[in-house]
């Protein structure tokens, strides 16, 4: 017995559809345009269909060495992902009981999320500049810089990914049943065994979600990288650089390739989460299945 839909439903449904079109329309346009023929330009209509511009990217004949930037972004993204997962899970566990500095950590995370990225980025670059000056003045005059992909760059990305990781952990433990741990303890499990065999398997799908956030946020990060990464560029930085000089569709091809990596990672993560949830549903509990 379904009641009829009110008129507002149809109005809002159209509004929603228009919003989705607004979201996707432009993106689809560049994915299509990246398959321009060799003579194709930056706008429609298509001038033939080919993978010329994508192939050109991988030949490294473009303005910048995209292959190297690609590998750097990938390396940084994977490291950010691992660090984000480990630190978020650990801190999430800590937040389940009261501890000193709890609110300091919480407000640091929230502030890190909402202080404009350019300020965080500028601060990190100043910090490293001052460290460099100190090293030059006191230890080694020919010292170049301590800024780099895995020092200042990694730190800058973590200030962006960790708040998301922590907030996801809050959501996870909000609906976690602590009686499961109690049962494990009663059966004689050590704290580590409880975590390894009871807590972790249950929260694993969401932990993969944190990893997904960590990787994709780092992979696409631009504002915080801009001042804090040092001499080298990540892929989004190269892409931004291209926007002022570009005349060829290779920028769209690059956009398509970056998006393709993002979507592959998302699909893999969502797939894994799905499989884990299925397994949990199938093997997690034998309640109601009888005694033998």
């Amino acid at each position: 017995m379904k009641e009829g839909r009110p008129r507002s439903f149809y109005v809002l449904a159209i509004f929603f559809a228009a919003y989705v079109l607004f979201l996707y329309g432009p993106m689809i346009a560049i994915y299509v345009l990246s398959f321009q023929g060799p003579q194709g330009g930056l706008t429609f209509p298509m001038n033939g269909v080919s993978t010329f511009w994508i192939a050109k990217l991988f030949q490294g004949t473009g303005i910048v060495d995209l292959g190297a930037a690609f590998r750097r972004s990938l390396l940084l993204g994977v490291i950010v992902m691992i660090v984000t997962v480990v630190l978020s899970v650990a801190a999430g566990m800590a937040f389940r009981r009261k501890f000193k500095a709890q609110s300091l950590l919480f407000y640091s995370a929230i502030a890190s999320l909402i202080v404009p990225s350019i300020i965080t980025s500028l601060g990190i670059s100043l910090e490293f500049r001052i460290i460099d000056d100190l090293i030059k003045a006191h230890w080694n005059e020919s010292f170049e810089t301590s800024m780099g992909l895995l020092t200042s760059g990694l730190g800058a990305h973590l200030t962006w990914t960790l708040p998301f990781g922590l907030l996801i952990m809050f959501a996870i433990f909000n609906r976690f049943d602590p009686r499961l741990e109690e049962a494990a303890r009663d059966l004689g499990a050590t704290p580590w065994q409880t975590f390894r065999h009871v807590v972790l398997p249950i929260i694993l799908p969401s932990v993969i979600g944190i990893g997904l956030f960590g990787f994709t946020l780092s992979w696409d990060e631009l504002a915080r990288s801009s001042q804090a990464i040092g001499a080298v560029n990540t892929l989004p930085l190269d892409l931004q650089g291209l926007t002022t000089t570009v005349t060829n569709p290779d920028i769209y091809a690059l956009g398509t390739v970056i998006s393709a990596v993002s979507f592959t990672v998302i699909t893999l993560a969502l797939g894994t989460i799905h499989v884990l949830n299925k397994r949990q549903a199938a093997k997690g509990s034998d309640a109601g299945k009888g005694l033998v």
């Binding site: 202080v115 300020i119 500028l122 960790l162």
Partner: protein, 317 residues
């Protein structure tokens, strides 16, 4: 109690107490474990967020020349920023105009994202009845967020450019004779791109507070004779307010600090608060950049405080 006390008083009295004690010695105190668990994240925020913020404030009071920072106290970062402002009164100086422009862009993006975000969230929370559809449609809104912002910005170029789809479409239909220029590299394109990029940050928190609204409250409002509009204003909006405020804080802080979207979509022509910082850094004038960062931080903080005030006051009434 007894066993522990006995053990302490005379070790070795109770059989097996040696191993029990060893186990006790290796067991860590809960507060130490908490430090161990939360410490690493705290260290990251300390090293890459809190200390850098302190450095921004300190460096904003340093002196500089063309080549380097001069670490002694100076107000030059600030005086250079406001250079000529007093002389030009009552007209606004460049920095004043820039901040006014930033606030204007910020307000426009906020108003539009709030409108779109509210109705999209409303549709998802109240009109989509099946949980599966709700999940699916939410995911649909989320997917574009997972790709690079720059790509989503440049995606507008083939549509809005001089020979873009919009212009050629308008010319073909005879609505205009010549392609219009203001579609791209203008305030219009900046606002459009910012709305495109960040409406998501409005949808998620508003949706979150809307799905928590007890549906029976809405039924009660209808039963008591309220019209749809009255229910919206007196029941739904007040209950969704936390989400609205959180979404607004996100959008406002992002737009206030933005320099990439404004740079790319404004054709590097539009001055904004974030752009000033970037320009100063590129000119190696770090104290001036830091001074602008401090000003920007203060304004952002002021807006956030005001917004959270509005909600708290209303809540108390």
């Amino acid at each position: 109690m007894s066993e522990e006390v006995l053990q302490q008083a005379s070790p070795g009295l109770i059989p097996g107490s040696g191993t029990a004690r060893a186990a006790k010695a290796t067991r860590l105190s809960p507060s130490f474990i908490s430090w161990l668990q939360a410490g690493p994240m705290m260290l990251v925020f300390l090293a890459f967020f809190l200390i850098p913020l302190v450095f921004v404030v300190i460096v904003s009071f340093w002196d500089y020349n063309e080549y380097q920072l001069l670490p002694h106290f100076s107000g030059r970062g600030y005086t250079d920023t406001f250079e000529g402002c007093l002389a030009q009164l009552p007209d606004l100086c460049t920095i004043g105009k820039t901040y006014l422009k930033t606030l204007k862009l910020c307000f426009m993006v906020w108003a539009i994202t709030l409108f779109i975000g509210f109705w999209v969230a409303y549709f998802l929370a109240f009109h989509v009845r099946s949980k599966t559809w709700q999940m699916g449609l939410s995911l649909l809104c989320t997917i574009p967020f997972w790709t690079s912002n720059v790509i989503r910005m440049i995606a507008w170029i083939p549509l809005l450019g001089r020979n873009g789809l919009v212009n050629s479409g308008l010319v073909k239909t005879g609505l205009i004779n010549h392609p219009v220029e203001w579609l791209l590299f203008s305030e219009f394109s900046v606002v459009l791109a910012l709305v495109h990029l960040f409406t998501f940050f409005m949808v998620v928190p508003i949706f979150n507070s809307m799905v928590r609204i007890d549906k029976s409250l809405i039924e009660a409002a209808y039963d008591a004779g309220a019209t749809g509009f009255q229910t919206l204003v007196n029941v739904i909006i007040p209950l969704a307010k936390p989400g609205i405020v959180i979404g607004s804080i996100f959008v406002i802080t992002i737009v206030m600090g933005d320099f990439i979207t404004i740079g790319v979509m404004g054709g590097q022509q539009i001055a904004a608060a974030g752009k000033i910082i970037e320009t100063r850094v590129n000119a190696l004038q770090f104290p001036a950049a830091a001074a602008n960062a401090v000003i920007l931080l203060a304004i952002t903080f002021l807006i956030i405080t005001m917004m959270s005030r509005i909600v708290d006051i209303k809540k108390e009434l």
